[in-house]
Symmetry: C3
Subunit: 444 residues, 3 copies
């Protein structure tokens, strides 16, 4: 049954990526809307994927929402009409946010608008021009000679049938309510076109997490955001100032299906509860933990000094460290079901740890309470303690009203799950009581 | 002379263990009293071993003092009267706190009351049943078949001639007064029967420490407690609330004669003066220093949140980490005189360090004072500093009125002894003055 | 041009050492004055080397300024008048502060006044007797037998033509003003006679640093002190109490031309800005960083509790760790131009780092500001960030008004130079503003 569930998850994660792969996405436009359509279909009944449309020109902190971009077609054809490069064949062929063009030109005129990777001649690179109004094509370096050859027949026909015009920026949001104040924010970017690891993996795994968490009672709410990178997070942050004090923990999810171990990138401060929880989970899986750096994905917006939100990042080998990054080689074969499934398990365990991360006070602090007469201790003496007993002893030894359950896990080496179970037993026995949750962190 | 002293110590430590080994001890009863008799005989004149008797039923924090247990005899005999298992042959044969039995029974009826170690067929395990009223025998696993065989002759005769009845819990206390407020607590448990390392080693070495310390002027008092594990420390803590602020440092002493290097287990906070002092001493002997864990011996009571006393633990390979632990193989051959003597030296040096651990203020802080004109510095320049000069320079550089002598030792690598000597010289020269001792730590 | 400058520096550093080497220096006297004459000649126009003369008998904290010592001649001659040991041949032959002698004596009478190094028979040791009024000669151990042999001809003639009399202690001071409050103190001792590494290297490199820094606009002033060890720093500290709060950072410079990597010795507290800056510079050159110890050079006076000044030390293999230390083998061949030049570069970079070490506040802290529209970010997306962009991102991520530029360098791995340049760009773009400098540290 557990195996059936896991197999079903694997199938759904893969199927969603397959459906998302061909869509032509960017930071705005109908590709984003179509992506949200796909994800919404996989949410369980009663769980809504809310869409937000933020008009072009809206000021969001230091940024302004861009014109909306839509691409219907784009190609380079030779004098015979043969299309040598065509958006219809791969979404990476067109530089994102290319402005419309319809012209005949020589290879020499066209050349400055062509992007290739000479050292990876079979791969198409990924390029964008969000904030400069120009256009371009990306293609495999080995196809460049053919293009030059074809131009000998006569001028090349260049068509970029796009619009860059006032419209809106689209993002999606799913909220699972919790029984207490405070939320866990999960963030995935949805602005990249046919790139599987970056970030169809994040979108598909996050959708699966929501499916699972929606079946459970939650202490803290969970908010999943599906939005374009940088401008998307800045926009959400600008429009939700009143919500920010509710964000107790956050994770950016990206690059979960490629090669390499799990990599957790710490929050800027590096000592937040999400850091401790993720370090334990990723450490137990022989993953890597890295310090914050202001380069990367949207964690750099959440952690900016003015927001100071405790948002870490879970990935596998990060951006820029694998050659397939931002190329057509980041395709559906590049991500494996095993890597995706293991990433899902790890992120779920981090979320579970944060849900369990409350603070207790020992109500019987004058020596160890007599667990035996409460049925919590083996009655025959002389043997070593069990894991369950050790979890209880650690909670009693550490629950000073200021040390949370995940901190006790870090101190003790006991698992969050065993401590959570032990805390229930001790609470029932009247030996532990929950402290009120701390007030939200002060903001800048 | 020093060698003679050391040889005398070795002989006394061994002889005490030999006298204590055959006694049938538990957490209460006449075995405890007989043990205190043996130890009292070895204290120097003028040093009293006070005994305390705490009546059954006394509430001590979360615990209640148990009925007193005394065992006169216990055996299993075959139909011919041959005693196959007999308390008179080894104190471990009877489960501690066994209730009285006098019955004939088949092997099958008896079997649930028999404890053996199948993977160590020659050893008798150690088992107790303090808080559940039942009975049992422990025996070598290889003797089990003989018992079953013997039962073919007819029912086995089972005799447990014990009493479990209102009485009292007994513990001993030795106090060596100091010239200042504050005490060093030494704790050894005395509840285990014929187990040499755990804890005749602690009892015998602690007695030797008191013999030595009683000959010296002491700054801080030293209080040695000889009491049963867990219930003994909880009882002492409950009855001595007014004394607790006087406990500046403490050590649990146990398992000092077995194999392995010295192991110091830190206090719960891990940064107390006793931690620094013991880390230096144990580190200098290539021992191990470990963080606190709430499992172990009575340090878990002293360090409980409600008491928060700075009590560490000195042992060799700790409980549960050597196969002989809590078996008949922890016998007098298992502990060696060399290991016992080296442990004695180490614990004594920790106590000496704590006695010397006062805080000074540099009275001439504006640059290095001219040690030469005070006769404290070599007069011919150009050579390197001696250890004695370095100890003076470190004290002058660090004595800001908040950094104690043992902290200076940790900073500098200079020995506590050399710093103590240098401090005397500098104090005489008017360059250092002692600060008042800090107030006792705040309690929960 | 840069190479020409570097070559010129090398020539000047070497030439100054050659001129300084033969002078007979001690903690007072005409050798000190002649040394300052040499150094003053190499300072650029408009930069004054101020000399201070502090009379014998002046109380300076715990010390008293000594009598002034001057040595005109000193020798040991045989009965034929042949001079076997002669100050005129090597300044180390005469024990510093030797009192006058004019006597004939046997070898046996002379012997207690002779210092040699039996384990280094070719080297003359360096000895002084500042605070005990005696006299002595130092010589190569292999020459001792010849002296004994010569004494067979008749008594040896011993002449020490010195004066030890009221006079003054001399030190030099160069001040380069800065545009803001606060100074960087550079300290070199000038009391050692013909010892090249200890400390003609420091004197010559420091002079070169002043030449270079005098050509630049400085934020913090730079104060170079050229003074005798111990008594010189105590004297300066006693006479300049009002200046001490201005000393924001300091470095003792010594032993810069001998073998081995750069060694930075931390301030007593170990976490001062000069420590961070020097750790980065020395670390980037595979040098060593060591904790403070109260033995060494004048850092021990500056760091004394009553002053608590943040003064570190830059050297190569430190005093006492190379066999040539305080012997005639520490000659001009022992120091190499390459080692001197690399040390000059490192110290200059530390000073530059401290000059750049201001604290900024991010004026656009709500997410990452849009660097692209300010011309500070590449316009084509999809590629990795450049070093210049990373420096900007780190400054924006870390400039909370409390984290200084060198701290950002330590956090980020970006160089101080790249951060300094990025800060200028961001300040011009209105994204960063300098915070007021912190008040001087509190003093004892």
């Amino acid at each position: 049954m557990e195996d059936d569930e896991a197999a079903g998850r694997r199938r759904r994660v893969r199927a969603r990526m397959q459906r998302l792969y061909p869509l032509c996405r960017s930071i705005t436009g109908d590709g984003v809307r179509a992506t949200l359509d796909v994800l919404a279909q996989d949410l369980p009944e009663g769980v809504e994927l809310r869409r937000h449309e933020v008009p072009t020109g809206t000021q969001v902190h230091d940024w302004v929402v861009n014109d909306e971009w839509n691409a219907r077609a784009a190609w380079i054809a030779d004098a015979t009409g043969r299309r040598l490069v065509d958006l219809a064949r791969h979404t990476l062929h067109l530089v994102g946010y290319s402005v419309p063009v319809r012209a005949s030109m020589s290879f020499e005129e066209l050349r400055p608008h062509l992007h290739t990777m000479p050292d990876r001649p079979d791969w198409i690179p990924y390029r964008t021009t969000y904030y400069e109004r120009t256009w371009g094509f990306c293609l495999a370096h080995r196809d460049l000679a053919g293009l030059e050859e074809a131009a000998r027949l006569g001028p090349l026909e260049v068509v970029v049938d796009t619009t860059v015009a006032p419209g809106s920026l689209t993002y999606g949001e799913v909220v699972l309510p919790g029984s207490e104040e405070g939320e866990i924010l999960l963030w995935t970017h949805l602005c990249h076109p046919s790139l599987a690891n970056d970030n169809l993996s994040g979108l598909s795994v996050a959708t699966e997490l929501v499916r699972e968490l929606a079946r459970r009672p939650l202490r803290l709410g969970v908010r999943l955001l599906l939005a374009p990178g940088t401008i998307g997070s800045v926009t959400w942050l600008a429009r939700n100032a009143e919500l920010l004090p509710q964000v107790r923990h956050g994770l950016v999810l990206t690059g979960l299906g490629g090669p390499g171990p799990l990599v957790y990138k710490r929050t800027r401060r590096g000592d937040r509860p999400v850091d401790r929880a993720a370090e334990l989970v990723v450490g137990a899986r022989d993953g890597q933990v890295r310090d914050y750096s202001p380069y990367g994905y949207d964690e750099r917006q959440f952690n900016a000094l003015g927001f100071d939100l405790p948002v870490g990042r879970v990935s596998r080998t990060p951006h820029g460290e694998y050659p397939e990054y931002h190329t057509s080689a980041d395709d559906l074969d590049f991500v494996t079901d095993d890597q995706l499934a293991a990433a899902y398990d790890a992120v779920l365990e981090v979320v579970e740890s944060l849900q369990a991360d409350v603070t207790y006070r020992n109500l019987s602090p004058y020596g160890e309470p007599q667990l035996g007469r409460r049925g919590l201790y083996p009655t025959t003496g002389g043997k070593n303690a069990t894991d369950a007993v050790m979890a209880m002893l650690w909670l009693l030894a550490s629950s000073d009203g200021a040390t949370s359950l995940v901190e006790v896990a870090a101190l003790s080496g006991a698992s969050v799950a065993s401590l959570h179970a032990a805390a229930q037993d001790l609470e029932r026995a009247g030996l532990l009581a929950r402290e009120a949750s701390p007030a939200p962190a002060h903001h800048y």
